[in-house]
């Protein structure tokens, strides 16, 4: 499934300053193609996370449309959009994103539990994802017992478990060492290879080696689009 942004822009109201609104994202057109890993880099505050949240259906654009396949995300009702996100979009946001009353395995299985009941094969897949991310031994631990890097990998496993058609990752390797960073990038690349449209926002320079398309964000403007 492709994710297409048409003339999408985002402005935030601002109480102070000369203007009463702040443009976080200049109008842009962008397509995340299925089977490709798109990498967006840029300085802090350049609008990368805003773009990611717009694509994830979490932030309504000021103008323009975002289509996932043929579905206009922001024309859906809250419930329809939520169900759509649950079944088609995987997200890895910044920071710690664990539900602390659940174990690591339960956290990973949570997306499947929201609107259904995971089966044994889902649990097997969750365990194999944890294995690949080198945290299989922590499956039954509480998130409070995990380090920052381990929590991050748990969030990656959770986003990948429902086999999303679109994967949006915001600094997924922020707390990871070099070895684990490599593992995660390889996993992203593999996910794209399986037909998923993957967008990765990162600071890591080594990520460029994995990119199918590479963009740079500056002051809300998207530049680049280098195809490799």
């Amino acid at each position: 499934m492709n994710l297409t942004a048409r003339n999408v822009s985002k402005e935030f109201p601002r109480k102070t300053g000369s203007s009463n609104c702040f443009t976080a994202l200049q109008p842009l057109d962008l397509t995340l193609e299925a089977g490709k890993l798109t990498i967006v880099t840029g300085r802090s505050g350049s609008g990368k996370s805003t773009l990611l949240n717009l694509f994830g259906g979490l932030l309504k654009p000021t103008a323009g449309t975002i289509l996932a396949g043929d579905t206009d995300l922001y024309a859906l009702s809250d419930r329809e959009l939520s169900v759509f996100r649950n079944s088609h979009i995987g997200m890895i946001p910044q920071g710690q994103t664990a539900i602390y009353s659940l174990t690591v395995l339960e956290n990973v299985l949570l997306p499947l539990r929201l609107y259904g009941k995971p089966e044994q094969q889902d649990e097997n897949r969750a365990r194999s994802l944890l294995e690949r991310l080198d945290i299989a031994a922590l499956a039954d631990c509480c998130p409070s017992e995990l380090s920052g890097g381990e929590l991050r990998r748990m969030a990656i496993a959770r986003a990948l478990l429902p086999q999303p058609e679109i994967l949006l990752a915001d600094e997924p390797t922020a707390d990871l060492d070099e070895e684990n960073t490599e593992i995660v990038f390889r996993l992203m690349k593999q996910t794209a290879g399986e037909g998923c449209a993957v967008m990765l926002v990162t600071h890591e320079t080594c990520a460029k080696a994995y990119a199918d398309e590479l963009y740079t964000m500056q002051n809300g403007k998207l530049a680049g689009g280098i195809k490799k």
Partner: protein, 398 residues
């Protein structure tokens, strides 16, 4: 795995505090409601038990204080006046129903470690005791038979001994919440025998009386066309050495103090309920506010606004049901078992409502507390369902 249940289980301190708060709230609401209705029922019962417009007692009884101590507080006591006064009163205008009563207090010996009030009445003319007795006893009260109040630990078929005379318990009264509960009732023949025996044993303060020529009190209902006040004044003017009082006036003191007590309890219930609502509102607000990020994560993985709200509402229902059940249960258990001690402590007629009414009151307070808890949580649920997920999940480099 239910997320709401796991959230409650995962944070035992938070959950315990919420359950305790709800339990305290329902304890206050259920206990207070039962207390107020118990007082109201007690007063109603007392009014019904008095059953006469006017009560005439010998002047020496110092009327109000002595009389109220017997009739309202159930303290055993006795006083007598010459029977001729009864006949004189009966001859006055405006007397509708009239019946005499005889009082005696048992000594601490025999059945009971504390004195018991013995009340003799004339079944032929009585109109105050009999209607109540009929509920538990339909037979004829033979000589030597007694009917015991509900607080006495004696049962039909038992024998109680007063002043050396064996009395056969014919029936036990239902609970009234008034002086009836600790009294013993019998007919004129029996009480005259008992008075005689108390005199013979030198255990009666009135040593020079003839039991057959005295009465203790005269109960009167005014005839149609006469007001009780007129009749009372008439008696006070025309019959010497007696004091007539209107029973309505007698219980006016008690009913106003009862109203005062009920009002205070009512205000307290209201205050506790309001305070409980505010505290629960804050508690849920803090509990949910501290987990904003978790709720944003749920939103990110596809939970709708409704789903998010339902997680919070389920948590609130879980804590609410447990707390309300515990609080209501404890207050029911406490009120039922300590009802006598509570009545004694308040010093007012106290009669708990019957089982059905009590169950309804308990259900009502359970529902009220549950509603309060969920209303408090609903506010947090509404707020959290509208959180700006993107803002919460955003870092500072975007």
């Amino acid at each position: 795995m239910n997320l709401a249940y796991r959230n409650c289980k995962g944070k035992p301190v938070r959950t315990t505090i919420l359950i305790l708060l709800t339990a305290l709230l329902s304890l206050a609401v259920c206990g207070g409601t039962l207390l107020v209705s118990g007082l109201q029922k007690g007063l109603g019962s007392l009014e019904a038990r008095l059953g006469a417009d006017i009560m005439v007692v010998p002047y020496e009884a110092k009327t109000k204080s002595n009389l109220e101590s017997i009739v309202l507080q159930g303290n055993p006591g006795y006083f007598y006046m010459d029977k001729s006064r009864f006949e004189k009163i009966a001859g006055l205008d405006g007397i509708g129903q009239i019946s005499a009563q005889f009082y005696l207090a048992s000594t601490s010996s025999g059945c009971c470690s504390i004195p018991v009030q013995i009340i003799g009445f004339d079944p032929a003319t009585d109109f105050t005791v009999t209607p109540w007795l009929k509920r538990s006893f339909t037979g004829n009260l033979e000589d030597g038979d007694i009917i015991v109040g509900n607080d006495l630990n004696a049962f039909p078929g038992d024998t109680l001994t007063f002043y050396g005379i064996d009395c056969h318990v014919a029936a036990k009264l239902d609970k009234t919440g008034t002086y009836y509960d600790s009294a013993v009732f019998t007919n004129i023949g029996t009480i005259q025998k008992l008075i005689r025996s108390s005199l013979d044993r030198g255990m009666n303060d009135f040593s020079r009386i003839d039991p057959e020529k005295v009465v203790s009190a005269v109960l009167i209902n005014a005839a149609e066309g006469y007001s009780p006040e007129e009749v009372m004044n008439d008696i006070n003017i025309h019959v010497k050495k007696v004091k007539a009082v209107q029973t309505k006036e007698m219980i006016s003191g008690i009913s106003s103090s009862l109203k005062g007590t009920s009002d205070v309890i009512g205000v307290l219930i209201g205050a506790v309920w309001f305070l409980g609502l505010i505290i629960l509102l804050l508690a849920y607000s803090i509990s949910v506010g501290g987990r904003k990020r978790e709720f944003a994560v749920l939103r990110m993985i596809g939970a709708s606004q409704g789903k998010l709200a339902s997680v919070i509402m389920q948590e609130a229902m879980l804590c609410g049901i447990l707390g309300a059940l515990a609080g209501t249960g404890i207050s029911l258990l406490g009120m039922m078992t300590f009802r006598t001690a509570i009545g004694e402590a308040i010093g007012l007629p106290f009669l708990l409502p019957d089982a059905l009414q009590t169950a309804l009151l308990a259900l009502f307070s359970l529902a009220a507390v549950l509603l309060t808890g969920t209303a408090a949580a609903a506010f947090s649920a509404y707020r959290i369902s509208r959180i700006d997920t993107a803002l919460i999940l955003r870092g500072d480099n975007g």
